[in-house]
Amino acid sequence: MYWVSVVTEAAIFAILALGLDMVWGWAGDFDLAFYGYLALGSYMTMVLTIGKPIPPVSYIIGWRLPYPLALLLAVAAVIALAAVIGAIALRNLREIYFAVTTLSAVSALYLFVENYTPLFDGYNGVYGLINPGQTALNLTYNGYRIVFLGVVLVLLALVYLTVQRLSASPFGRMLRSVREDEHAAAAYGRGVFSAKYRAYLFGAALAGLAGGLFAVFISAFNPSAWTPQELLVIYAAILVGGRGNPFGVVAGVFAVYIGFIEVTRFLPSPAARPEFGPALRQVLIGLLIILVLKFRPEGLFRERLSRDRSPQ
């Protein structure tokens, strides 16, 4: 069962990474708000399925919708948030200005969620989404976890195939041309903002989907689950796998999550210093980012660029 949970987590983060890679790998925008989209997806899925809050717990909505419907609504909410942040940040901010703006947007959101308890119960967060549909499907706890893994893998495959098609489509090529030279792309009649904006909304939708799945996976969500540092692991995975190459991104997530995090789980962590092991793991992730950037910035699997097939 341990491996079922590890693979489920990696598959959920692969969906998030595919969305993030559209924004960073294809369109070239280094976004730091993405974990906020995962978080909103999780929160919304929770409050739409777990019913009315019992005081002193407080949160908004509190419906009891069936899980798939809640998931759809959560993704819609995430797209709405990304539409606002993207409209502000993508209009004419690039590179570090874009990164700083998205980071401050998500930090403001984080502080607000943490302090304003009527929204998602502040620091305590929301919980109670335990295996939706388990009784309806008449499954044991472990059986449910395996079925859930299957569902996540099917969704990952669907997302992967869609992203792969988009990657080779005129839209994917346009995004890359915008990334390489915005002015040239604009001069050839490409709508730079609209291209980046559409990629951003699509990527955010995938982050929201990952959030909704993550809600089932951990069945509780609070601010400590989405500190800004978490996103760096995803960036490290994309870097290792190969920025801009969907296959590389999925491979990178599995390599970093399973190969790296699971191996470093066995690092020494003295009983008196429980934070030692996790801190060492973060150090290694930071080093991994720096070393890959320095020595192999294209990652394990190079981005496949379309070739000029016109007759010579």
Binding site: F30, Y97, A108, E275, I289
Partner: protein, 293 residues
């Protein structure tokens, strides 16, 4: 004694710390064209170095401040040589991501050494003083005076010394400075040493003002630093000082009238607004050399 004036007074103390941190950040940007996301860790290193040092020099604030600045200086030099220079010539975003990685490494190394639990200094904050319309503790006053002193020294350094002139030349165009006979590499190194020392000192007074601090001290101050820098004008030391004053006052006053928990929310909202309307900074003339990457 009005609430407004008290919050202005505390805002000035916040602005003092912010000014030091932001000036260091802007100097790093000026010579290396990098938004250094590991800048916060220079502050943290300074704060923890002073924490270790206070065991050796009991209750001596001056010695603790010097140790913090020295540790920051060494860390700044190491960061430039070990990270920034290694990524010279790469795209701004690449260097930026590398500094993000470095921030993760340093923050967690500090956690491994000192533990995740918060620590605090044993220096006294001193009594309360009425100065004109303001109400300050002794350490508030020390913070404001030292910020003014550092700002004055930076002004003299940049305007009156050969080193300062070289910094300004390198920040305009490193290659051009190099071919004009300015040892650009040494100037960049010297600037990082200076920025590191200022940041280390800022980390110490920040930690002393807050009271207790942990390995995330500098990182949580980073966005505020960036807000102040961008508000003034990134890469421009004097404009940055103005930005720090503005941001320090805005968050303190807005925080007093809403809730202190939302102080930072105001700062980030301000940053987003600035990014939308004046990304080159408030105190930079329109049409001046664009620093937009």
């Amino acid at each position: 004694m009005s609430t407004f004036l008290i919050s202005v007074g505390i805002g000035l103390a916040t602005a003092g710390i912010l000014a030091l941190s932001a000036v260091a950040f802007t100097l790093e940007y000026a010579v290396s064209r990098v938004a250094n996301f590991a800048h916060g860790e220079l502050l943290t290193i300074g704060a923890y170095a002073a924490y270790s040092g206070q065991r050796l020099f009991h209750q001596n604030v001056g010695a603790a401040a010097l140790i913090a600045a020295a540790a920051g200086l060494v860390a700044g030099l190491a960061m430039n040589a070990g990270l920034i220079e290694q990524f010279r010539g790469r795209s701004a975003t690449t260097v930026f991501i590398a500094t993000l990685g470095a921030s993760l490494v340093l923050q967690n190394l500090i956690e491994m050494i000192y533990g995740a639990a918060n620590v605090s200094y044993s220096f006294s904050q001193g009594g309360l003083h009425h100065v004109g319309p303001f109400l300050w503790t002794t350490s508030n006053i020390e913070v404001i005076i030292s910020a003014l002193a550092v700002a004055g020294l930076i002004y003299l350094l940049l305007q009156r010394t050969r080193f300062g002139k070289a910094i300004r030349a390198v920040s305009q165009d490193r290659t051009l400075a190099q071919v004009s006979g300015i040892p650009a590499r040494q100037v960049v190194m010297g600037t990082w040493a200076l920025a590191g020392a200022i940041a280390g000192f800022a980390g110490f007074i920040l930690a002393d003002t807050i009271g207790t601090f942990g390995p995330g001290l500098g990182f949580s101050f980073l966005l505020l630093t960036i807000t102040a820098t961008v508000a003034g004008g990134i890469g421009r030391p004097y404009a940055t000082l103005g930005g720090a004053l503005l941001v320090g006052l805005v968050i303190q006053i807005a925080g007093t009238y809403t809730s202190s928990a939302y102080q930072l929310v105001w700062a980030f909202a301000l940053l987003v607004l600035l990014m939308l309307f004046r990304p080159n900074g408030l105190f930079v003339q329109r049409g001046a050399t664009a620093v937009r990457a």
